[in-house]
Symmetry: C2
Subunit: 540 residues, 2 copies
């Protein structure tokens, strides 16, 4: 009996982040990408979110390898966590593997050996029944690829993150011709990047950013220029290095990830650093001949740019003589912190260029017209919009319908879905139960919904612990005490808490079963707040 | 000796929200606007933020009246709080006063009488030495005005919120000609709306929104149409009513503020509701002939649209047959909740049009070119950018410089600043100490920084209360207990808390002074989390 191909997205469908997809055929399995997601504001105190890869661990005997599309954190940074639990070779382009190596070293230490195997565009990799051929894509980090995955039931195109920029900064365009050549018998299924499915038209080319930066550096004569961008946006860094040379400026880097990434990319030959252009950030160079490339475009508290805003950067003090350019889009959820950082930079007197003011950043993901072109190029029999929240997946599905696809051949899936095909038909089997896996401090997957709910309530109104001394007959013996934080802090808080103490005594006489509820009601009546209330009996 | 004019912004300079400005001349004072701000995400559990109007209360004997530019919450909604403390007449256009009346009734009850006095464009109001003449402005709520405030030392133009839309939905444009005519001797100072100072060009006219809605309603044949917008965006509601009539649809309203605002505006003659077009939301009308206007464009949890998304709306169940249009911009900070709501609407199968997809919303504030035009029209001697965060104020200041103003005549102020002029020169006196005033439940101004810091820590990592039974000699007598919420909740939490208990005993022997710190260190070592730790001694 013929086997079936099973595609199981473990992350990235229903969110932008933690991308991870299982391809399974009989006794063989590969995984594409293994990334993290950064927590949203409802995930109180959480550091990172991992995909729920329990299924991969359970089926590790089948696993032939993990292949990576590119080196962004949402595609690689869950690897150290997975590789604590299983051992499997990891395949990626050299820059991607360089970034993986650093993640592994940070999180696993240097003793742990992982089998990292380089791949390159158009060189086919054989893993069990899967023949995997990478093709180049234009994205905001060099050495990005998508995959044509040949399986016994047909070819699958896994686009990875891409845009169809014809003049990208790194020069590498998305190789649509290769996709066509690699799929002479057509494409059974495509998983396509949905990130910008709500943006009409095409994403502007990186060249418009270079032009804007060039123009701004011309205007900045006499001023120091500080450009904040993502440390992974190495193509942008390359452009900035060339522009610095053109404008006769030295370049200093600040921010740990910026320094490390530039070093890595330079060592691997992905970055052409003009001779003698790099200087230390505290070098004695006239401001007008200085350009600083910094981290912190998202306002991250400990980033270099935010330290400048807070006047806490060790070497850079910003002021009237500075032009500061935020060359990175604001990731949804970061608007407030970025805004606060910008305000402080303005207050220092700097000239600041950001977001809507000029084209100092473009997305690394294609927009609707590019998605349409990709779909028309690949012409898949089945289509699975990937890499997006529900709205992006649905909108991407609508584009596919507009290209003439039958709505029944378009599958809007969620993480854990089991999509199955025999090469002719496709359907979904019962979904795996998957959940966000929270990393909080040292704890992985141990913080769940209950703790989140408690933190949410604590964040709103704080807590009250009522300590109630009782004897072994459960009779009140002595004064109850009330301990509280995050609730109220005011002149008459003492009176309020004292009244609460009286309420405890009064309620206790009525029977302690409703004590929690009674106290909640009491404090709500008094303040209209709903702190977490914990009555605690102490047997004395 | 000649008196000086003193302008003191109590809110709105350094934030978008809680607008309130004091004009003081000798023994006379007026206040322009008295609004609230909605809390940002760092203001844990806070319901509203008020301007710090202590100065007004202290100087109430000088206060001649409060004049209002328009009826948005960030300009009127702090009035009920201020009017609990002082009694003063309030001046506004009829729609503004209608909205104020509702706020007062909700917050003060109907017994309290406030002296509300209607004003209208070009009719001058005399309050002490101030001659205040309202002029019409185009904004996203009808009946908006700015003021020319004539003072003994010169005329001040207080623009209020405005755009220079030549084809606004309500038909009322910003009356630049009036400003010129009202200031034959020139303008001493201008306070100008800075909201969109980072947006190049001009804000698109409301007409493009009407055109987009018209086009979408044509596409929606056979479908029910649901349009979510701000309940204060009455000009937009007017356009939607006309479009509904054109497309042969009945209109139902859902969401309390939408129903109330439409009623109010209709009663006051600001809304022309076509005969017989309004129906109840549960009326038996074929979906293809139904249009629902809803609240909830910001994803507010209890709003009508969010209830639909959550499948909890009493009368409206959304699905494949619906086109849902979000005709309201996302206020910074709301991106995540709006995104989550959109995802759910898509998952119900509805066609959803929002934000970047089409021009279904435009801002009510002018962009850079409009600010330039306003500055060139008014030609103030001194300029105070207002209504914005620091970055908007600075950018607005830069525009003024570009029009040829001397940088020394441009004042970037903060809340509490005392800007003083004698008609010739201008300077700032020592600023008043003002702060955000938090409304939390029933408490006003009593929740401060300490509580915020505690809530922040509680939100991150929860709390631990260690109950330590001691005798009157402070000796440990019995087992310590540990109570915790929002910290960990996992299989081996018991073991961790038990270990914490042992740590208490061990540390207690060393002397209890460092108990809190020792426990913090212990739990950090174990979990890399930093819960709030409270050791609590119980004398038994």
């Amino acid at each position: 009996m013929a086997q079936k191909l099973r595609i199981i997205p473990l992350g990235g469908l229903g969110e932008i982040g933690k991308n991870m997809t299982v391809y399974e055929y009989g006794r063989n399995m590969i995984v594409v990408d293994c990334g993290v997601m950064f927590p949203d504001s409802a995930m109180y105190g959480i550091d990172l979110v991992l995909p729920d890869y329990e299924y991969v661990i359970q089926n590790q005997d089948k696993l032939r390898g993990i292949v990576l599309t590119h080196g962004h954190m949402d595609h690689i940074a869950a690897l150290p966590y997975l590789l604590r639990e299983i051992n499997v070779p990891v395949y990626g382009t050299p820059l991607t593997l360089g970034l993986v190596e650093r993640q592994l070293k940070e999180k696993l230490g240097s003793h742990r050996k992982v089998d990292l195997k380089p791949i390159s565009a158009l060189n086919t990799l054989h893993l069990g029944p899967f023949r995997i051929t990478p093709f180049s894509v234009a994205h905001s980090i060099p050495d990005s690829v998508g995959f044509v995955i040949d399986t016994p039931v047909g070819a699958v195109v896994h686009t990875g993150d891409y845009k169809l920029d014809e003049t990208p900064a790194g020069g590498r365009t998305t190789d649509l011709a290769a996709i066509r050549e690699l799929t002479p018998n057509g494409v059974l299924a495509m998983l396509g990047d949905s990130t910008n499915a709500d943006r009409p038209g095409s994403t502007p080319t990186e060249r418009v950013v270079s032009e804007a930066l060039d123009r701004l550096m011309t205007e900045a004569q006499g001023q120091r220029v500080i450009i904040a961008t993502f440390s992974s946006l190495l193509a942008r860094v390359q452009e900035i290095l060339y522009l610095a040379k053109k404008h006769g400026r030295k370049v200093a880097l600040t921010g740990r990830s910026m320094i490390e990434n530039v070093e890595l990319a330079r060592d691997l030959g992905y970055l052409d650093v003009p001779q003698g252009i790099l200087v230390d950030v505290d070098a004695h160079i006239p401001p007008a001949q200085m350009l600083i490339i910094s981290t912190g475009s998202q306002g991250e508290p400990r980033s270099a740019l935010n330290q400048m805003a807070e006047d806490q950067h060790r070497h850079v003090k910003v002021g009237r003589g500075d032009m500061i350019i935020i060359s990175g889009g604001t990731i949804p959820g970061n608007e407030e912190v970025v805004g606060a950082m910008l305000n402080k930079l303005f207050e220092h007197g700097a000239r600041v260029i950001y977001g809507p003011m000029d084209t100092v950043h473009v997305s690394g993901h294609g927009s609707r017209d590019e998605m349409r072109t990709m779909l028309e190029t690949v012409q898949p029999k089945f289509f699975i919009p990937a890499h997006g929240e529900a709205r992006h997946l649905h909108l991407h599905g609508q584009i596919a319908e507009q290209t003439g696809m039958d709505p029944h051949d378009i599958f809007i899936l969620k993480d854990g879905a089991q999509w199955v095909t025999d090469g002719t038909d496709a359907w979904t089997d019962e979904a795996l139960a998957v959940d966000d896996v929270f990393v909080d401090g040292r704890l992985v997957g141990e913080i769940g919904e209950v703790v989140m709910r408690d933190r949410h309530r604590l964040a709103q109104d704080g807590f009250i612990v009522a300590l109630i001394p009782v004897n072994d007959k459960q009779q009140l013996v002595g004064e109850p005490q009330i301990v509280s934080r995050g609730f109220v802090y005011m002149q008459d808080a003492d009176a309020l808490l004292a009244a609460g103490q009286e309420e405890v005594k009064r309620q206790y006489k009525k029977g302690k079963h409703n004590l929690r509820r009674a106290l909640e009601d009491f404090f709500y009546r008094e303040t209209r707040l709903r702190p977490v209330v914990l009555p605690q009996f102490i047997t004395v």
